[in-house]
Amino acid sequence: MAGYSDPGFDTLALHAGAAPDPVTGARAVPIHLTTSFVFESTDQAAALFNLERPGHVYSRISNPTNAVLEQRISALEGGIGAITTASGQAALHLTIATLMGAGSHIVASTALYGGSHNLLHYTLSRFGISTTFVKPGDLDAWKAAVQPNTKLFFGETVGNPGLDVLDIPAISAIAHEAGVPLLVDSTLTSPWLIKPFDHGADLVYHSATKFLSGHGTVVGGVVVDGGSFDWDKSGKFAELSQAYEGFHNMVFSEESTVGAFLLRARREGLRDFGACMSPHTAWLILQGIETLPLRMARHMDNTAKVVEFLAAHPLVSRVGHPLLDSHPSHALAQKLLPRGAGSVFSFDIKGSRAQGQKFIETLKVFSHLANVGDCRSLVIHPASTTHFRMSDDALAASGIGLGTIRLSIGLEDPADLIDDLKKALKAAEKAA
């Protein structure tokens, strides 16, 4: 039944949420750089504020350009709607702050981006929200970590940078048995590699800075609701199923049977915390998404070639990519991520810390910086940068050694990437 009524991924990446502008005929999505939107009447103004009518009021809450991006990523993920935010971290914070307050508890994977670990372990604990970290593959540990005040399960589709694949079907089943939703960070995979909602996740967020944008130009985030979690039935979310004095005594789950989370997150979270996305940023991310299918295919092709090269190199002691039989998530990746487990992965060089430094400093095509998912290839030393606040034990639990190097494979000619790595490895060898 393919066609306009049931469009495929590549069509949605170009068309979802956007039609030619009805006023100007502009085919590309216009950038609506305006803070505010004129009301037709006092009655319409009141109705917009009270959620009686749809429309835009103020760009912190919603904006036409952002709305296109929100619809498009929802369409690609198979969700019901989305909210764009100032960054991926803002999306994570918005999600947590919408679902819980002081006294609540989260069960999270140990294999998280350092910033997310920091938010959960240090920052949120100051606000009375505690987290138990469990190894992503230890299903018994997920189950055992549940407390009466647990409100959320959280993990990454593939852990950064060890690429532990999250067993979303199994972990979501444990979460649902406990009456809580599963939130998944899908930044490193994008919906082209996996749609977490199809496997049981309830909420998905992205650092759109990475593959969705794809060009290393803007910082942004987005949280998508799958509309599958029954907040009323759970009985744990008075935030969504009881009248909220902070917004017209609205009972969000009455207003919308499937969209209660989005209603509160936008009407409270964006209003009060204010971590919104600029319309210009939304437009740049939309440009990126238009070529997401093409870029992801090339990312995967290049990654396969680089992984093959590194796995065969004598100076490399370990390559941490699920493409390889040796990776603990190899089988799970084949099941959940048949198109590939991403282009961000780590490997270890035999030798000293100085040799590792020599390797990084010799690279010419790879850029040494703190980002992933760029169209350009990138390299970094996680233990001294992205994950430096973590203890050695926590690092080890995340699959990061002191000599681990993380690569983000871009879209260059694969032969050039391999040549660059070959020369840098040779320089490292000589530095022994």
């Binding site: 068309h15 949420g17 009270n50 749809p54 929100e70 929802s74 369409a75 019901i80 207003e255 919308s256």
Partner: protein
């Protein structure tokens, strides 16, 4: 609010305002595998502009208890019993798809016992007869998720709707699909997808019912509706004593694809 109707708890969304007996009442009736929330952007507005709103979950759907209606007539009896239970003296009945047939039948049946109690009838995305293909009827039992996907595809007309229910950033295809799955899951005893479709398919009293309708009747039709195309409503329009017809550029999910158009049509029609 919850109302006891025919011995069962029936849920009705009131648009964020308490029921006020001094105000006129509009009863909203959803279609197959939907619930009250499909009317959010019409009901909340009317509730804050002088109307009592009762957007029901049909029996056996989501927040409402009791056996789901096996026929349009059975559902119409529930709507009449709801008017009785709330002691409503004047009401507008507004239905979508399956719900439009229920509203029609309830208006006709109520006319004898309570002449004039139903003062306005609104049929949104309607057709008569409302046939459902045998293949889809079978699929609603054997592979309901596949049937939901089919219905969802045929119920929408655009990949880029204007700001819609729930407002900016909503992806209607996803929202409708999630709602249909949720409603299906809400009744573990009866497949409300199949019973709803069967009730639509087997309803044979539409033209007779329309002859009993004396109040003004509004037809809100989607010009791109593939489920109930406008021409499929013509026999009802032809048999209607006081028809008003509004066509909107939308598919079958009119209330969410064209929320402002539907609201405007209701506002104009329901004016005292």
């Amino acid at each position: 609010m919850n109302i006891t109707v025919q011995g069962h708890k029936i849920y009705a969304y009131t648009g964020g305002k308490p029921f006020n007996p001094a105000q006129p009442t509009a009863v909203f009736i959803h279609g197959v595998l939907n619930d009250h929330s499909v009317w959010i952007l019409q009901t909340r507005y009317l509730a804050h502009h002088g109307w009592n709103v009762l957007a029901v979950d049909l029996p056996g759907h989501c927040k409402s208890e009791g056996p789901p209606p096996q026929s349009v007539k059975e559902a119409a009896d529930t709507v009449i019993a709801l008017l009785d239970a709330m002691q409503i003296e004047k009401a507008a009945l507004i239905g979508h798809s399956f719900g439009s047939l229920i509203a029609l039948e309830a208006t006709a049946r109520d006319a004898a016992a309570h002449p004039g109690r139903v003062s306005r009838l609104v049929m949104v995305g309607t057709a008569y007869p409302m046939r459902v293909s045998p293949a889809l009827l079978d699929l609603s039992v054997s592979a309901p998720f596949k049937a939901i996907d089919m219905v969802n595809s045929f119920s929408h007309s655009t990949l880029a709707p204007p700001p819609s229910a729930l407002g900016p950033g909503t992806w209607l295809y996803g929202g409708s699909k999630a709602l249909m799955r949720r409603v299906l899951a809400s009744n573990t005893q009866v497949n409300v997808f199949h019973t709803g479709f069967k009730a639509c398919d087997s309803y044979s009293g539409g033209e007779a019912a329309m002859t009993q309708v004396t109040c003004p009747t509004l037809f809100v039709l989607g010009s791109a509706d593939q489920m109930t195309p406008p021409k499929a409503a013509q026999s009802l329009i032809d048999g209607c004593a006081h028809p008003h017809v509004v066509k909107l550029p939308a598919g079958h999910s009119l209330m969410t694809e064209a929320p402002e158009g539907v609201l405007q049509a209701l506002k104009d029609f329901l004016k005292p």
